[in-house]
Amino acid sequence: ERRSSSLQHKSALFSCVTGHKQMSSHESWSLSPEEYETWDRLYRIKESDGIQEPVLPWIQFETLENLEETPKHKEGAARELSLSEWSLWQSRPFPTSLVDHSERCHHFISVMEMMEQLRQEQGDCSYERQLQPHLRLEDVNVPRSRRHVSVASPT
């Protein structure tokens, strides 16, 4: 029952924040006692909620030594937010509200779209076929050991 009441309270709270009453006690950076009470009651995740604390994935470089400390979470207590679970949904732009999609985001969408197409292919790769005629060997570093690779002869 707490869930549904949360939703109702949330909209009430927003109007309350934009209203006048809240402003007076808002001199410090931290929450006022009333704000703390509201947060504790409506938003704070507690054990009784039966849901796991959301955490963002931590970056790791496979090819470099990692300097970052991986933050420790209690086993099973945290739910790592996935950036790849819904990849099938990502080959088109999602709706926006106030912030537009960045160029970087559009690149991501296009690449997801491209991968969706490549996924259907078996064996021969259309991307390769398309680019092969444009390769000039003077543009690339040809490593002595693997001069034969990748430039599969266009058949």
Binding site: I59, F61, M114, R119, V151
Partner: protein
């Protein structure tokens, strides 16, 4: 497209090195996808670098701008900084050896650094 082909070729070589190293196989499609990502990432890098340089009221992109590209990961930043120091010292040696080439060395530094950054992004994409 000629550029894309060169990127694709180079990505193929790098992937091959990883294949040998890790004992895994890349499908041609995944190599194509990495190439396309790399190609597009270059566009993002290029624009960011230009902005960083302009923010510092420069028109020439230097190694400090490149380091900014790597700011989000301290591992990556450390790696790039090391490489940049290596490059700087080898550039110094070269300058001392061939003083007549000193004008060319400076202009050459930027694209080479950029390439280093790009190679890095490929590495991360591959992982």
């Amino acid at each position: 497209q000629r550029l894309q082909a060169a990127v694709h070729y180079t990505v193929g070589c790098l992937c091959e090195a990883v294949e040998e190293d890790k004992g895994v196989q890349f499908s041609k499609q995944s190599i194509a996808a990495i190439s396309e990502i790399t190609f597009r990432q270059c566009e993002i890098f290029a624009k960011d670098l230009e902005m960083f340089a302009r923010h510092a009221k420069r028109s020439t992109i230097n190694t400090e701008d490149v380091k900014l590209l790597a700011r989000r990961s301290s591992s990556l930043l450390k790696y790039i900084t090391q490489r940049s120091e290596e490059l700087a010292s080898s550039n110094m040696e070269q300058k001392e050896k061939k003083k007549k080439k000193s004008s060319a060395a400076k202009g050459e530094k930027t694209p080479r650094e950029q390439e280093a950054a790009v190679t890095e992004s490929e590495d991360s994409n591959m992982s």
